[in-house]
């Protein structure tokens, strides 16, 4: 299973692709701050589905739960323990 470093790297790539080369810490807000757009949330979701086996159709989706690297990591941990 991938960990926090991979999530950080993935988010960094998303930000760079949208022209944001600013500093990134694990608790930075990504979507609510506007650094990423709502359509970018899809990239995060697909990344989580493919790499962590999270099924959002099953657990429901809340934008706030993927708003930072820390939150995304917590979601992967919670899903892993539930399984």
């Amino acid at each position: 299973m991938k960990g926090k470093a991979e999530i950080h790297e993935f988010v960094r790539e998303l930000l760079t692709a949208s022209g944001d080369d600013g500093p990134l810490t694990d608790d930075d807000s990504l979507l609510l701050s506007g650094r990423l757009q709502s359509i970018d949330a899809v990239e995060i979701v697909v990344f989580l589905e493919e790499n962590f086996g999270i099924d959002f159709a099953q657990i429901g989706f809340d934008r706030d739960e993927i708003d930072s690297i820390d939150l995304i990591f917590a979601l992967t941990q919670a899903t892993a323990s539930a399984n």
Binding site: G19, G34, S38, I39, V42, E43, F56, A57, G60
Partner: protein, 515 residues
């Protein structure tokens, strides 16, 4: 070398670049040559590294809508008013429900004025329009590309059998018209949907079919369309709203530029819809109207509806002249007096300053003109005066219900970058076709038709193409012939004689630089 020889030589070099589909070099009479280029779509797709960027973008939007309906709130949203996912660009929070309600009800009212009996709605979403309009129709077909969203509509229809019996729901993409015959419906509705289309070309394909399936006398209603002439003003207003008082003018300019460049949605000039008349002979008339309502949000400020009339006798305009509000500075009271003094005359007024966005435009101007060191706090301080200017479009529309005996129609067909609008007051008893009087509205000049849509998700690619072209020309042309600027356009505007319309192209560039 003569100017036209030089132009020919520059164009020859431009055409050698694989990113160029069409090209024209025009001497601007001051700084030298400007290159106008219609980009090659497959080249852009190639440098994006994806096989089909259009499909990718559509797929992402579909997943975005699917996800929006997987939240806990979506499951308990009220019938016909599921506002989940309707987030404000300013606050990034959900737009207040009362504002969405006003917008939906006004939209429904506008569509019902078209007297629909059989409707095909593309992108019916969670059914906000469907649940209100279907009860007034014999047949209502709602299609959407998001299966999760459609499941919400089906849930609502289960609780309303009287509506359900005349409604059909289908999961399909907007461009899928499989099995739909010509002249099947009297109304096609595409509301708040085209911004998620990957390109203007995709939209044109959808509209071609939409027009085909509508019977003579019917309509295609395209609502909640984001305005291209006002895209920079919109970006400025959002960035101004979000900036802290310490942000300086230079930073804000960068953010505005980046927001426009990163735009993921399709943004269209009203000229796009006007230009369809040439392409589709079944289109007899196109109306462009700003959104109605009092709510102050991005829909009311920056969006419009385009109503396409299909094979309908339009009749001649009876407005002799549009009085120029920009010159004569009419107040609302002066307009009222005008109505009182001319009870039987059609009155047209053009270039009415738009109070909804006066502050945003002043902000854009202030940011472009001011010193980079000026802070947002200082800029904001200068804007309050601008907020008082102009007339709110709804104040003009409300004159209809204040006993003056006139029906009121507004138009944004002129595509002015200052967001000003035109109004026509038609004596109520002289109206043959209550909702839709034929009016010869002011329209834009040829330059507006050179670039009628943005390229969603491709801002950076287009910038990259311009850099490639500049390097290519520098390598292959003598210094004095290298264009000093490159502008990507949808098409090269032609004169009636079929020659490149240099004046229109340079006009489009001036408008773009001003933005």
């Amino acid at each position: 070398m003569q100017d036209n020889e030089a132009q020919g030589a520059i164009e020859k070099i431009l055409y050698m670049h694989p990113g160029v589909r069409e090209a024209a070099a025009v001497d601007d009479g001051r700084d030298g040559f400007v290159a106008f280029v219609v980009p090659d779509q497959s080249f852009l797709d190639g440098i994006s590294g994806r096989g089909s960027a259009g499909t990718t973008l559509l797929g992402k939007w579909q997943k975005t809508f699917d996800l929006s309906q997987l939240s806990k709130e979506a499951a308990s949203a009220p019938v016909g008013l599921n506002t989940i996912g309707w987030n404000s660009s300013y606050t990034r929070q959900q737009i207040p429900v009362e504002e969405i309600k006003e917008w939906v009800e006004n939209t429904v009212e506008d569509i019902l004025l078209l007297s629909p009996t059989s409707v095909y709605e593309i992108g019916c979403g969670t059914g906000m329009l469907l649940m209100r309009i279907a009860p007034r129709c014999e047949r209502y077909v709602g299609v959407d590309f998001s299966p999760v969203v459609l499941s919400r509509v089906r849930e609502q229809l289960q609780t309303t059998p009287a509506i359900a019996e005349r409604v059909e729901i289908m999961e399909r993409r907007a461009d899928d018209f499989d099995g739909l015959d010509e002249n099947t419906f009297d109304t096609v509705v595409i509301n708040s949907v085209v911004q998620y289309f990957p390109s203007a070309a995709y939209l044109t394909g959808v509209l071609e079919n939409a027009i085909r399936i509508v019977r003579p006398g019917g309509h295609v209603y395209v609502g909640d369309v984001r305005s291209l002439p006002l895209l920079h003003a919109f970006a400025a207003s959002v960035e101004l709203f979000q900036a802290s008082d310490e942000t300086n003018g230079g930073e804000l300019r960068d953010r505005i530029r980046r927001r426009v460049e990163r735009e993921q949605e399709l943004v269209l000039s009203p000229a796009y819809f006007l230009s369809l008349r040439e392409r589709f002979p079944k289109l007899s008339r196109v109306e462009i109207r700003p959104i109605r309502g009092r709510a102050d949000n991005e829909m009311s400020r920056y969006r419009y509806e385009a109503i396409l009339h299909i094979d309908r006798e339009s009749g001649a305009s009876t407005v002799d002249e549009f009085l120029d509000c920009a010159e004569r500075k009419f107040s609302l009271d002066e307009i009222r007096s005008m109505l009182a003094q001319n009870p039987n005359k059609r009155i047209g007024i053009k270039r009415i300053q738009n109070a909804r966005i006066a502050r945003d435009l002043a902000a854009l101007e202030a940011v472009l003109d001011t010193d980079a060191e000026l802070t947002m706090g200082e800029i904001r301080h200068t804007l309050d005066e601008a907020a008082e200017k102009g007339i709110h479009p709804q104040d003009i529309l409300d004159l209809e219900t204040q006993g003056w005996g006139f029906s009121v129609v507004l138009s944004w067909a002129a595509c002015r970058p200052d967001g000003s609008y035109d109004a026509c007051f038609v004596p109520a008893d002289s109206m043959q076709e209550a909702a839709m009087p034929a009016i010869g509205w002011p329209e834009p000049d040829a330059s507006e038709f050179a670039c009628t849509a943005n390229a969603p998700g491709k801002g950076r690619l287009r910038k990259e193409l311009v850099e490639h072209l500049a390097a290519h020309c520098s390598q292959n042309l003598p210094l004095e012939m290298v264009p000093h600027d490159y502008m990507l356009v949808d098409k090269l505007t032609l004169t009636p004689n079929g020659e490149i319309d240099s004046r229109a192209l340079l006009g489009a560039r001036t408008a773009s630089c001003r933005s």
